[in-house]
Every structure is written in C-alpha cells, then in structure tokens.
C-alpha cells in the first residue's frame, strides 16, 4: 500500500479548475460523456457499413426494438438492473482508489448464492426475499474480500487478483451448478428454480429489481457524499497519506470498500437470479462486470449519473439481439461501441476537441501495483 506515497490527487471526476471556469468548460462534465457516446456510435457505424448494412437502419433497429414498446422497455429495465449495480460496484472502488475489475466474478458468486438461498429454504416471503438478496450480497462481498484483504494487508494489486478471481468464479459456479447444487433429474448445468417466496415481484410491468437498483444508487450517493464512511472512502482514494495523517485506518477502509463493492456486484447477481431467470445458469450473464467499468467512467464515478449511463448500455444490450435477427450484424458490435465509448470518455480526445486544452484535467487513478 502506498501509504507513504503522495499518490495522484486528481481522479478526473473532480470539477474543472475553478480559476479557468466558464459556463462552457463547466458543462464538460455532461458534454464530454454525451459527445463520447455519439463519436463511438459514429465509428461503430463504420464497422456496420463494412458489413454492408446502412448504419442508420441498424441503429434504428437497435434503439427502436428496445425503446419502441412496453415489452422493449421492460427488457431495458431488466438489462439495466445488474448494470446499475455493477456500475456502482466499480464506482465505490474507484472513489477509494481501487480498480475492482472483478465485478463479473462477484456477480456470479452472488447469483448462485442467492439461487441456493432461494430454493433451499422454506420461509415466508417477508423474510425469504430479503434473506436471499442479502445472502447473495454476502457471497459477492466475501469473494471481493479475498482481493480486498490481499490488497490491504499484503499489498497485492487488486487489479490482477480480481481478474484471476473472475476466472476462478466462472469455474467454481460451473462446478457448483453441475454437481452439488444441480437440479435433480436434469442433465443441464443449472440449479432448481427458487421458491415463489424468494422471487422478486413485479409492480405492474415494472420489475421491482429495477426499483431496488435505483434506490441503491441513491443510498450509495448519500453514503459517499454525506456520511463519515463515504468521506473516508473519498479521502483514501484522493490521498492515502493524507488520510493516514488524518487518522483514517487506510487498510481497513480499503478492505471495507472492496467488500461494499463486492456486495453491490453480488446484489446485481442476486437481483438477476431472483427477478428474471428464477434460477442460476452459468451462461446467463457474461460480460456484465466489464460493462460496469464503462458505466462508472461514463458517469464520472457519480452514483446518480450511473442510472442513465446504465440505462444507455442496457438499451444497447437489449437491442443487440434484434439487431442480429433483423440485419444479420453480429451483436458484438455493441461491445466495440461500448469499448470506444470508454476510450473517448477516459482519453482526452473529446475534451480537447471541444474544450480548451488548459481547462482539461487528466484522469489518473492508479499509482502502481500498490507495492512497496
């Protein structure tokens, strides 16, 4: 841990330099992400053009199939729910100066934990549903805590350990769903359906998981800006040595931030399992964790802004299937567009095009492997 290291102080999501602030430069907080998305769609359009399809047609299919009718909107909400939560998971880590690349693994572990808690117990819905969600969160938190403890107490970079734990989680849940937790009398790799008492209800057509995710964003926003613990997270993220001088237990804070981050990702898995799939199947949610990174950076690590960012990504994910069905374009084009969005949001390309160079601040989060 770089306790003695005067680490980077600028996390890129702070306000622009107030001395040079103009209404236009202040607006870069909103303008840059939006311009980045458009630029990414533009370049993605070239890829689509190469495949011999009119990009405007493709984008019309992509967005209209997702937003055009009630079914589409429900799908968007369903897709956005785990994305909001993994976006928040990455945000909490980022605010504390941590890169939790492992939201994917934590989400899988949380999903299978929630599935087990959901089918294995008989209890009234009032207790069962919260129990299953909290159990999923605990599984995610425990999984992230392996990386958190190694980072806090053994100075091992959380970047590598969380990536490794992703791979371990994929193999682990595959084993669990194919042997000990497998549905009886079925050759498929999946767990039994959860009890009705553990399933997330729907409010009319609105999936309640979505409402829960919105609520959690507000709580995390409040926690980061209005509570002592949030202050500790931010201070450790901005300057660990200053935090140390101020009497904040830096190691404990790092450990806790990873656990909270993992709990959020685990909750994403739990809500997906209990609200949509009803059981755990290993293949159902590949790639959600990496989308969380894009979403968090698009939202400039702001928990409230995570909501629109996640809905945008969720819309593209929801429309990708119709895109393939109607135009024959590989759905991976969405991955490329999202990666380009991430590039434009975090590289100073768009900012330099739109704003004077001097008013730009560089995003810098990392200060090495945390060694020494």
């Amino acid at each position: 841990m770089s306790v003695t290291d005067p680490a980077q102080t600028d996390l890129g999501f702070t306000d622009p330099d107030p001395r040079r602030e103009t209404p236009w430069s202040r607006s870069q907080i909103f303008v840059t992400p939006i311009a980045s998305v458009f630029l990414a769609l533009l370049l993605g359009g070239i890829l689509i053009l190469i495949q011999g399809v009119n990009p405007l047609t493709a984008y019309w299919v992509l967005f209209s199939s997702a937003l055009g009718d009630v079914d589409g909107l429900v799908t968007v909400m369903q897709k956005s729910t785990p994305l909001i939560l993994t976006g928040l998971a990455f945000t909490v880590g980022l605010r504390t100066g941590l890169f939790n690349i492992g939201a994917q693994g934590q989400l899988l572990v949380g999903a299978i934990g929630a599935a087990w808690a959901g089918y294995n117990f008989q209890m009234p819905a009032v207790i069962h549903l919260p129990f299953a969600i909290v159990f999923g969160m605990l599984c995610g938190a425990a999984w992230a805590s392996i990386a958190g403890a190694l980072r806090a107490y053994r100075s091992v970079s959380e970047v590598i350990t969380t990536i490794m734990l992703n791979a371990v989680a994929i193999a682990l849940v595959d084993y669990l769903a194919s042997k000990p937790l497998q549905e009886e009398g079925q050759p498929l790799t999946r767990t039994p359906l959860v009890q009705a008492t553990a399933a997330l209800p729907e409010f009319g057509v609105i999936p309640s998981g979505f409402v829960v995710a919105l609520f959690v964003s507000l709580i995390i926003g409040w926690m980061l800006t209005r509570t002592t613990q949030g202050f500790r997270f931010n201070t450790v993220g901005l300057n660990p040595s200053a935090a140390n001088y101020a009497g904040i237990g830096v190691k404990k804070t790092i450990f806790l931030a990873m656990a909270v981050s993992g709990a959020l990702a685990g909750m994403g898995g739990a809500v997906e399992t209990l609200g949509i799939t009803g059981r755990f199947e290993p293949s159902f949610n590949a790639g959600l964790g990496f989308d969380g990174i894009t979403i968090a950076l698009l939202a400039r690590a702001n928990p409230i802004a995570t909501i629109p960012a996640a809905i945008l990504v969720g819309t593209m994910r929801a429309g990708a299937a119709s895109l393939q069905f109607q135009t024959g374009i590989e759905p991976e084009v969405v991955d490329v567009i999202l990666a380009l969005t991430l590039l434009f949001v975090s590289a100073p390309i768009v900012g330099r095009l739109l704003f004077r160079k001097r008013a730009m601040k560089q995003a810098s989060f990392s200060s090495g492997w945390g060694g020494a």
Binding site: Q8, G12, L47, F99, I101, I146, L150, R154, S155, V156, S157, V159, I160, T161, I163, M164, L165, A167, V168, A171, L172, D174, Y175, S178, K179, F290, I293, T294, L297, E330, E332, V333, D335, V336, L338, A339, L340, L342, L343, S346, A347, P348, I349, Q362, A363, S364, F365, S366, S367, G368, W369, G371, A372
Partner: protein, 324 residues
Amino acid sequence: MRARYAYTLTIAILAGIVVAFAFDENRTVSVLSFSLRYAVPLILAAMVGIICERSGIINIGIEGQMLMSAFAGFFGAAITGNLILGTMIGVGTGMIMGAFLATGAVTWKMDQIIAGVIINIIATGLTSFFYSQGYVLPAITPKLRIPVLADIPLLGPVLFDNGLFTYAALLTAVLLWVLLFKTIWGLRTRSVGEKPGSADTSGINVQRTRFWNVTLAGGLAGLAGAYLSIEAASTFERGLTAGRGFTALAIMIFGAWNPIGALGAALFFGLANGLASQLQADEVIDIPQQFINMLPYILTIVLLAIVSGRVKPPAAIGKPYEKE
C-alpha cells in the same frame, strides 16, 4: 523472492525431475515438453510486462494485445497461405496495439490501467465481431531439431526439439536480460522507470523512450499471440488467450521484474500445470475438471500473496511523467 530460496527451489525441482526421469523416461519427457509449451506465451508476455514496467508504464492490456495478434496472425496465415507472413502480421498487429497503449498512456497521459482495460475490451469486441469460421492454416508449424544436442537424454528431447517460437521465447528472455542490465538502452530504460526526473535532467527523452519501449514490447505480445493461434492451437477461437496476459503480469512480479527470474517463474508455472494435467490424465487424482481449470489462476493469486512486499516494482510505474 530471495535469491537463496530461488536457488534452493530450482535445485529441488531439478533433482525431482531427474528422479522422475529415472523411474519413467517417456512420461517425464512428455510432462516437461507440455510444461515448456505451456510456458512459451507466458515467457513472452512476461517480457512485454517487464519492458513496459521497467520503462514506467503498467501494461494491463497484454491480454488484449495477444488476442488481437493471435487473431490477425491466424487469419493472416490462413489467407496468405504462409505461416511466416502470418506470424509477421501477428507481430505487426502487436506493435500497433503497443503503439495504441503508448499513445494513451504516454502521449495523452491517460490513466494506465484504464488504457489497458480499454485495449482488452476492444480486442475482445473486434475479434468476436470479425470472427468467422472455415479458415485453416496452410501447414502445421515445423519443428526444428538441433542435431547432436537433441540426442542428449532428457534435456535433448525437451529443450532442443521444438518449434521456432519456443527457441525465440527462451532467447528473448536471455537477450532481454543482457539488454536491460548490460547496455545503454537498458540503463536508460531503467532510469526512466525509476526516476524519470533525473533521467530527464541527464538528457534522456523520457516520453520518447517510454513510447518506443511500449510499442516494441507490443511486438513481443504479438509473437506470443501468433504462437497461441498458429502453433499451439492451430486455430483461432474467441477468447483464445484465456487470461494468459494477466498471469504473465503475476509471473513478472514473481520474477521481480527480472527477465531471468520471470523465465524461471514461467517455467515453474508451466511445470505445475503440466504435472496437474498428467496426474489427472493418469487418474492418480480425481478432481473435477473445473478445479483443474482454476489451478493457474489460484496459483497466480497464491504466488502473488507470497512474494508481494519482498519484491519492489520500478519506482515510477503508473505515473505519467510531467516536466517540472
């Protein structure tokens, strides 16, 4: 790791290999060959990490650089019908990916981990998007059997009867050690990674050194990728690299940012996997396949936990250089 432990461990492993060879020649040779083949991309990728981090740039995007190069190398070879041309296309792609990281992390002073993550996501997206089936390589990669040396028992068949990539990987490690510690380029590279301010004062162009080192290192990632698709798998699949780029970073740390140390760590890693899969194949141990798949990743975490705090990374990694 302390040198003393490293020597003790190496001698113990070598003794174990000789004993195993006395009991069962064929099986020992096959396990060792498997281990070496497993280690080849890890060695090359770890060298990428060493060059970049010794220059002060964290390269978390090795995985993506390898994946893109594996893709370009395979389809290059399949379409042109020439393995050497395919390999060169792979290396070139790796250098382009290296230049991409260099532009982001050095020129634009982006956050280095974000820049690497972007490379990984873009590589996964592009290779999946353009992936198409039905292509095959024009030939299998030839083996180069070195006369006389290949006839030495045990050592010969393991070390001197391999594909060109294997020799290239072993040579690269040794060569990089010489370059890093015995040449002016090496001194400059290390100074740029340890104390860029002083390097700048003494007339070294920090930004240019970093930019070219990261770009050229990408070429090695390209070689590793080309090995995976052209020689090891003889095909390209989505996600072919399977986390090797990240494992290589752990190997780099385990080898204390020293090419020879990383070479040893990669071979040890290969041996552990070779042994596990042989034991599984012989049904000596009966572990579900998923746990065998987990082994390299768990081993990485355990090794990192053991070694961290005992080795020191280059002082300036992760920080963009700003002139005072």
